[in-house]
């Protein structure tokens, strides 16, 4: 135990570690999920922002580019205008005023350009001429007269917005000069790098477009182009305001920062628009390339978010929600796990406790069984000695003492037996026998057991067995008797007046009848009530009310009539189906004090009586009913009761028994109930009884004897029946003797005398050939005196078939059967053993002689041998023996060995018979050889018994023989054998 507990403790600690680890893992996993989800949602949001940025950036770049392209196209158009109207018309159709007016009018077309101006190409040779023509000097950017150059590009036309550049040589500016040269060689619009514009001081670029004197083909060389150049059209793009305007038109311009760069020189991008960004500003950015149509310059637009995109709320809430759910789930699992563990632990403990309790219970039962057994043995000694003491000459006081002691001892023994039974049942050691028995004779036994008591108390005790119950049943007669004895014993104990009535029916049949009664009750309810009110005496056996009203005469009558109809419709087949199982329903009805309502539910609890005063008044231990219940359940039935205080109790139990297969060999030709004389067949009887139930009971006993009986309710009917007036069954009255049975309380003594006289009268008149014998049925000895001289005999109740038979024999003068004189147990033994051939094997001559003597007493034909070998030689098949009693300890060949040999011999023969088939014909009475062999042994212990069974014996009897045991052992084989 100690080591076990520490072991389990260690296991628990490991388990705890394990659990902590699981918790840690779980939390880590949850955190990981949290982080992962958060990261994922952030990635998603950033990607979204990126996409947004890309689309916005591209949108802005395209717009800028488009607007720029529009402006450039317009400048291109202007260039063509200038070329068309200034150079191809003579005289020139264009002057400063026209140009200014026109450009101002079309300024809306060039929202991006501050203004446009046209500069003419002037070579140095033409300078003077030109200056004279224009009336002003060519100036440099610094507004000084221009130094000598190869060529000049003075502005001749300008929009009003840029009129300040008129007469300024564009070639004097570094940027413009480069521009001009590039433009005239390529013939395309060319941009400067961004620089601060002159007036607005905004960042800007200058667009320059060449104007050619003549039309040039597309594939003209740069030399040709330079030759053909007439002047240059230029315009300043104010990029800063341009982009600002553009962005203002678009949504979301607050969120993003836009920078435009000139990246012609990649290593040193020139900013065209946008704030200078600090170097450490790291933000999401996108770069879109811009194509302003200038093949020499490259531009790009960079978009950024003005601030870092905010972390979306869902990136925090979703993971934390999931985390919380994980933790909760974890907690729930954890709680469930610990709960499960607790429950498992509890369960284990409980299991252990249960095992202990069961072991204790078994030990208790075993202890009880042992102790009761140990008590029983010396008690038997005490009782035996008391018996012997009572046989000696004692004075009356001593005798009284001894008798009291004996009664007490017997009571103690029976109590111990009961306790032993109970313990055996609880220990599951009680096994039911399966022996053929006659239910009716068992009931008669029970009745005779209680007859003295019932007479003493003046209670009617009666038995009725339905004729549909088979004659012989397979079951445990001892236990069956025990149940009934118990119930009847209880009833007797608690009943002071009225009756105790035991009925046995087939269960299915009884149910039918009950149903019928219930139906009838529904229809004829008023009728019934009427009967009840007029008839104060109840229609039961004794006239007292019974607890279970279903057992009243109405019901009983139905059962009887059902039986009758069954019998007539299937005359040879009293029971309708051949199934081997028979369910009996046994009803024990009394009119005692009943069971108090509060005690009814614990009636079947062992050692529980209605209340403590019960045992004081009536004695008993209260174990009987619980044993009965157990036994009934072992027999596959149920026990129930209905009880009404001060009215009575009715116990009902069912039992499932086997139908006894009666063999068709010679032995069964013997009348089935051999103990009952059969000489009364054809005798007729008339019963005067005003109580129909009691009449039916008496009739049942008469029918068992083969007597035809009729029940009438009063004398007049009886007389008329006798004289055959009513055409009753007695009309054929002739040779057969007739008996008149009179129930004591149905007639007063005067009436009996009157009846007697009437009968004499009738005989004289010849209406009846002779006076029938009159038998009075009396309740007690005292009733005997009532008109005893007028009747031929008196039967004192309770009725038993055998007593009735004895009385009839006496009255009718039939020869007495010897079996009738003997006490019951011996009678059974006699009936079993009469005429049987029995072999007794014992090496001890004395034992042999005694055993033989005992068996002979019961009418058996006995042969004795003194050794196993002799027995074997006698038992060579075929032989005549019905049974063999075998001593176990014998020299040379002991009982076990002899039995083994005998069984071997039998099985060989049986096999041959089966194979050959012809042998059977010769001894057709035996289908299979199996000689019942009973061991005779002095020490009846379990091991010996098992050994006996193992070597093929059928049972054992103790040596010297004990009547009851001998009967039990023999009954198993000889009745079922017959």
């Amino acid at each position: 135990m100690g080591s076990g507990s520490t072991g389990s403790g260690g296991g628990e600690r490991r388990w705890w570690l394990n659990r902590t680890a699981v918790v840690v893992v779980w939390i880590t996993a949850s955190v990981a999920i949290l982080v992962g989800l958060h990261w994922y949602s952030r990635v998603v949001s950033i990607r979204k922002a990126e996409e947004g940025l890309v689309s916005m950036c591209e949108e802005r770049a395209r717009m800028l580019q488009d607007q720029f392209a529009v402006s450039v196209n317009h400048v291109h158009a202007l260039a063509i205008l200038v070329s068309t109207f200034h150079y191809q018309k003579h005289p020139a159709a264009l002057d400063q005023d026209t140009f200014a007016e026109y450009t101002a009018g079309t300024a809306f077309e060039r929202p991006l350009l501050n203004g446009v101006a046209y500069a003419q190409r002037v070579v140095h040779a033409e300078r003077e001429n030109f200056e004279n023509q224009q009336g002003w000097m060519i100036k440099t950017m610094k507004r000084e007269p221009s130094p000598v150059q190869d060529e000049y590009a003075p502005v001749i036309f300008s929009q009003e917005t840029v009129s300040y550049i008129e007469s300024i040589d564009m070639m004097s500016g570094e940027e413009d000069r480069e521009n001009i040269i590039k433009a005239r060689t390529t013939g395309k619009a060319v941009l400067t790098r961004p620089f601060r514009l002159l007036k607005s001081n905004h960042l800007g670029v200058v667009l320059t477009f060449p104007v050619y004197r003549a039309d040039l083909s597309g594939d003209a060389t740069s030399q040709e182009r330079v030759e053909a150049t007439a002047g240059y059209l230029g315009g300043a793009f104010d990029v800063e305001s341009l982009v600002e305007n553009l962005l203002r038109q678009l949504a979301g311009n607050q969120d993003i920062l836009v920078n435009v760069y000139d990246v012609t020189n990649i290593s040193n991008p020139l900013i065209m628009y946008g704030p200078q960004l600090p170097d450490d500003f790291v933000s999401l950015s996108h770069i879109s390339m811009l194509d302003f149509g200038d093949p020499f310059r490259k531009h790009q637009m960079v978009c950024r978010y003005s601030k870092k995109p905010p972390i979306p709320l869902s990136a925090i809430t979703t993971p934390s929600g999931v985390f919380v759910i994980c933790m909760l789930t974890g907690y729930i699992l954890y709680a469930a796990w610990s709960r499960y563990d607790n429950v498992k632990e509890d369960c284990r403990k409980m299991e252990e406790l249960k095992k202990q309790a069961e072991a204790a219970d078994v030990a208790k039962s075993q202890f009880l069984a042992t102790v009761s057994h140990e008590i029983r043995t010396p008690m038997n000694g005490v009782l035996g000695m008391l018996d012997m003491l009572l046989d000696t000459t004692l004075n009356s006081t001593q005798k009284d003492y001894a008798q009291t002691a004996q009664v007490c001892g017997k009571a103690l023994i029976s109590l111990i037996n009961e306790v032993l039974d109970r313990a055996k049942i609880e220990a599951g050691k009680l096994e039911l026998e399966s022996v053929a028995f006659d239910l009716r004779s068992i009931l008669d036994d029970v009745i005779s057991l209680f007859s003295a008591k019932s007479r003493e108390k003046g209670i009617e005790l009666a038995v009725y067995v339905s004729s549909r119950v088979p004659e012989f049943l397979l079951g445990d007669p001892g236990r069956f008797r025990q149940i009934i004895t118990n119930l009847v014993g209880n009833s007797i104990k608690f009943t002071e007046r009225g009756h105790i009535f035991v009925q046995v029916h087939l269960a299915a049949h009884s149910n039918q009848a009950t149903d019928a009664v219930i139906e009838e009750g529904l229809i004829g309810h008023e009728n019934e009530a009427c009967v009840m009110s007029t008839n104060l005496a109840f229609n039961t056996l004794s006239g007292f009310e019974a607890a279970d009203s279903r057992n009243s005469w109405e019901n009983f009558k139905l059962l009887l009539s059902n039986e009758a109809s069954m019998c007539t419709s299937q005359s040879k087949m009293p029971y309708e189906n051949d199934s081997s199982q028979v369910t009996l329903i046994v009803i024990v009805e009394d009119t005692g004090i009943g069971i108090p309502l509060h005690a009814q539910e614990r009636v079947f609890t062992p050692f529980m009586q209605a209340d403590s005063s019960t045992s004081r008044n009536y004695g008993g231990t209260g174990i009987g009913l619980s044993i009965s219940k157990c036994l009934v359940e072992l027999m596959g039935g149920q026990i129930n009761f209905v009880s009404r205080p001060h009215i009575g109790s009715t116990f009902t139990f069912t039992a499932v028994l086997q139908r006894c297969q009666i063999r068709t060999n010679g032995d069964t030709k013997r009348p089935p109930h051999c103990f009952l004389p059969t000489c009364f067949k054809g005798v007729k009887a008339i019963l005067i009884d005003r109580r129909p139930v009691r009449g039916a009971v008496t009739k049942y006993h008469l029918q068992r004897l083969g007597v035809k009986a009729e029940v009438v309710s009063n004398i007049d009917l009886a007389v008329s029946a006798l004289s055959g007036k009513n055409g009753s069954f007695i009309s054929g009255y002739g040779k057969e003797p007739c008996i008149l049975l009179i129930e004591n309380d149905s007639l007063c003594s005067k009436e009996v005398i009157c009846l007697h006289n009437q009968l004499l009268e009738q005989q004289r008149t010849g209406s009846i050939p002779e006076v029938p014998k009159v038998i009075l049925l009396a309740n007690s000895e005292s009733d005997k005196t009532n008109g005893v001289d007028m009747v031929d005999s008196v039967i004192v109740k309770p009725l038993r078939t055998s007593t009735v038979a004895a009385c009839f024999q006496q009255v009718l003068g039939f020869a007495q059967y010897p079996s009738q004189e003997k006490p019951n147990g011996s009678a059974f033994l006699c009936s079993l053993l009469v005429g049987k051939n029995i072999l007794v094997v014992d090496d001890n001559k004395v034992n042999l002689r005694v055993a033989a003597g005992t068996l002979k007493k019961y009418g058996a034909k006995v042969e004795c041998v003194e050794s196993g070998k002799d027995a074997l030689s006698l038992l060579q098949l075929p032989h005549k023996f019905d049974a063999c009693f075998m001593d176990i300890q014998m020299p040379e060949m002991d009982g076990f060995e002899a039995t083994r040999q005998i069984r071997l011999m039998e099985s060989k023969t049986n096999e041959e018979a089966q194979n050959g088939g012809t042998l059977v014909e010769e001894n057709s009475s035996r289908i299979e050889w199996h000689l019942p062999i009973l061991a005779m042994t002095a020490d009846v212990i379990q091991a010996t018994y098992e050994e006996c069974i193992k070597c093929g014996m059928d049972g054992y009897v103790s040596k010297p023989f004990e009547e009851s045991q001998l009967y039990q052992a023999v009954a198993k084989f000889l009745v079922s054998d017959s």
Binding site: T392, T393, N844, K845, V846, N847, R849, K857, A938, K959
Partner: protein
């Protein structure tokens, strides 16, 4: 009248035998077995018993006289004696046999010899009583037959 006196004597003898513990219930059973069908049943059983017992007793003495005692054989004999005595109802002999068997089991030679003596003693005591009883019975029978004649 003598018959009655003899019967009285017989009864007294039996009662004393029961009281002494020489006989037990089994003997009563035997008596009950004796009826008109077998008048000499008890006498027959008793003589059988006596013959058998004497044979066994001599055997027992022989076995015990040997230097090496065959206890198994001894036990078998005692068992037989015990069986027959319990069949007859010879209680004291039976009890003595039980003790004898115990000594046999213990292979206690001393004890066995002692037990044998006890058994012998009990047996001879019983035999005397039986003889008396049988004599009385014979006389009763003789009287009865005389009277009938």
């Amino acid at each position: 009248m003598a018959s009655v006196a003899l019967r009285e004597q017989l009864n007294q003898l039996l009662t004393s035998m029961f009281a002494e513990g020489l006989l037990d219930q089994q003997f009563q059973q035997l008596q009950m077995l004796q009826d008109s069908g077998s008048p000499g049943f008890v006498a027959e059983v008793i003589t059988l018993f006596c013959e058998d017992s004497e044979r066994i007793l001599t055997e027992l003495t022989k076995v015990l006289e040997q230097t090496i005692v065959d206890y198994q054989k001894l036990d078998a004999y005692v068992h037989q004696l015990k069986g027959s005595s319990s069949s007859v109802g010879a209680q004291n002999v039976k009890l003595a046999c039980v003790q004898f068997r115990q000594f046999c089991e213990e292979t206690n030679k001393e004890g066995c010899i002692q037990a044998l003596n006890v058994v012998k003693h009990e047996y001879y005591h019983l035999r005397n009583k039986f003889e008396k009883m049988l004599q009385l019975e014979q006389r009763i029978q003789a009287y009865d037959s005389k009277q009938q004649n």
